[in-house]
Subunit: 439 residues, 2 copies
């Protein structure tokens, strides 16, 4: 009967701004970072690892918030915790004083994600299975009890959610076998960061096609002439049958988004991602209507399930890009998958950053196996960087995630990576501070 | 030419949970708190004071975030800063790494509010006028430049905003004189906290009527039988002509809100406040349709201008209750007042907590003088506690705020109050820690 003995939280930052990896029209110089949580137990072979993702400054705020969020876990019996993953989520989430700082958004919610991601990792390790399988072996009732359905009753009651999951129960085994054979389809964003030169863009697009990808995504929105030229290069390389996605990272007003996307329509993008404020449900609905048949995608900044409920209600998006480290962990992710299935909107999770690919591969597999039962129009993001810091990095082959087999949520980072990149005292940052002012 | 020499940030908490002041169905034990910012200058007689409001735990996170947000202000020339209040807001707000933690919501946005509230206080002090007058003497073009209109262009362009303000310019002087004579109407929430007994509720309602209030607000949502009994008491005391408002503090699902409010309809509430998640625009629209003619009010947890834009677009609310310490200071408050005027929705600012009354009195006066030009269906919240900690506390007479005359935003707290209630080292908390564990 192991117990949680301590909650360790570290602020780890990778200096990605040096190479423009991850650069886009809104975020020119992000240092991909994690507020990283380790739940230690009195069993030396058992710990839970989780994190939320940020792009640098303020990661310390998320770490401090995660330390507060995680405090009630100390001393808990691991098996009791794992037997009631809905209960512990509700307990941590409902701290009314911290709730005031959201509710369910911003730093305190990112911190809840970090802590509860570690709890889910711990639960899967304790069960000796990868997270996707832990979920795929839960009953509809258990899944619905774990899901955060608060404020969703006008569109999805717990009873309706159970019925939806029960309807897919029969095919779970067969779909698992299918994915074990073929993997879960993904697309690459590594080609199209805004800070890359045309030559680098062309080379990376060519490499993506050669690696088996059918989708390529470009960052747009800083300069229309550049966007036209870059979309032209990408379309030329991927050919008429390839899928081109474009991503504006929230830089536009609603009318401007419509105008700009229409100017890029001749390159036939599959979707325009984050055309405006992530909070603007009605704005996305207006853009979608105006730029059809180009799809509208958003979600990496989708703050919580209430926002997604309304995006679906308003018919605002064609693709839901939920984020595993921004939503309140698996508990809230479950709710969004259930809503998406009810409304028939495909979920194509956001990934990239640091560690997000490692997390979302589990979620996408679970969705296919137990929730939507469909791969139609579904493709999960993949970005090829920072995987070397993970003990069990995700594996992509022929444009598809290979199903993880190690127990847990694939969230554990190497101790050496932490020692190097902990901010500001890790060896990398400390030595950099000797030659230049650290940001 | 004074310069800002340092940004001091303190975490100050008042032990209001001991007396159930401020208790409601969601927040049973809040300790009203402020992440409090002082902009020191090299002129010993000049400083800017501002804060955001929280209810206890996590106030340290807001304080830490405010320290980061405020850093770029150190060394700035005060007059240059005050001459471009839109520019400094945009500069602080657009830090892309911190933006990732929102955008424009949660801890980083509360911290932006704290810092920019202090900047506005400084600007009004430097001009030697109360904040409402500083605003009322700005031209339409200056006000629109200061306002945060990003992501609003689909409903309000800067040109439209200038035209709206220009249309009210002629009557400014006369409306100021009118308010100087009569004050700005307010209502009291002090009577109806959920933790109060029936006898205390009755006595406080009687006192409110005797003091000249025409509106009384009760907290509801924990227990329907209790709510029916308490609404009965309040309606009996205030009579058929008095206005009764009810406030559920977000505890209901949408269908439950409709059912519960209908069960209280016989007490003819003027509005139901915060019936469900503050993020649920479409939910509020559905509730409003179902419970009419009872009005729907929300806004104290309204995270940013994009949310308010949609509340207006969707016809979701009858009363807009913006919060001076949750929105990104005067810059974003201006945007919401402009939107509200465009859509014809009255703004009745949220107040209470600690210091919110001091702030919103300025905003309400400015709205009447320069934006809406109307008092129709407008009444500002007033809660009678914690005013003793302010150097220039708000004054309410005959159910109306008396116009402040001292320079600034009325945000300055007494040094002795800070010394007593700074958390956890102030004399109050330190001595309490000697006899019991401090929360």
């Amino acid at each position: 009967m192991p117990r949680i003995t301590s909650v360790e939280v570290v602020d780890v930052r990778f200096p990605t701004s040096l190479t423009s990896d991850g650069s886009d029209a809104m975020n020119k110089d992000g240092d991909h970072s994690a507020a990283y949580v380790i739940l230690h137990t009195d069993d030396p072979g058992l710990a839970g690892h989780g994190f939320t993702f940020t792009i640098g400054r303020g990661n310390d705020l998320c770490a401090a918030a995660a330390a507060q969020r995680g405090e009630p876990l100390v001393g808990r019996d691991v098996d009791a915790l794992c037997a009631d993953l809905g209960g512990i989520y509700r307990e941590l989430q409902s701290d009314s004083q911290l709730r005031w700082l959201g509710p369910d958004k911003g730093v305190i919610h990112l911190a809840l994600a970090a802590v509860m991601n570690a709890v889910w990792d711990l639960a899967a390790r304790r069960a000796g299975v990868p997270l996707w399988r832990l979920l795929a072996e839960m009953s509809p009732e258990q899944l619905v009890d774990a899901a955060d359905l608060r404020y969703l009753a006008d569109v999805l009651t717990p009873e309706q959610a159970v019925a939806l999951l029960a309807g897919q129960e029969g095919g779970r085994k067969q779909r698992i076998e299918q994915l074990e054979a073929s993997g879960y389809p993904c697309y690459t964003t590594s080609a199209g960061w805004l800070g890359y030169s045309d030559a680098k863009l062309r080379r990376l697009c060519e490499e993506a096609v050669a690696s088996g990808y059918k989708h390529v995504k470009l960052k747009v929105g800083a300069n229309l002439a550049d966007d036209i030229r870059r979309c032209g290069i990408a379309r030329e390389v991927i050919g008429a049958d390839g899928n081109l996605m474009i991503d504006a990272n929230q830089v536009w007003e609603v009318p401007q988004a419509i105008e700009w996307v229409r100017a890029l329509a001749r390159f036939e993008p599959l979707w325009i991602e984050e055309p405006t404020s992530p909070d603007d449900i009605l704005g996305h609905a207006a853009i979608r209507k105006a730029v059809a048949p180009i799809g509208v995608a958003t979600g990496e900044h989708g703050m919580n399930r209430v926002l997604f409920k309304q995006l679906f209600q308003a018919g605002a998006i064609d693709y839901c890009q939920l984020d595993a480290a921004r939503l309140g962990s698996v508990n809230e992710v479950l709710a969004v998958y259930l809503l998406a299935a009810k409304f028939g909107v495909p979920v194509c999770p956001h990934a990239g950053g640091v560690g997000l690919c490692e997390l979302v591969q589990h979620l996408a597999v679970f969705d296919y196996v137990a929730v939507s039962g469909s791969l139609d129009r579904r493709v999960t993001e993949y970005v090829d960087h920072l995987h070397e810091h993970f003990v069990e990095p995700c594996v992509v082959r022929n444009g598809a995630y290979v199903l993880p087999t190690a127990p847990g949520y694939s969230a554990e980072m190497h101790r050496e990576s932490l020692a190097t990149y902990i901010y500001p005292d890790g060896t990398y940052w400390a030595s950099r501070a000797l030659v230049e002012p650290v940001p």
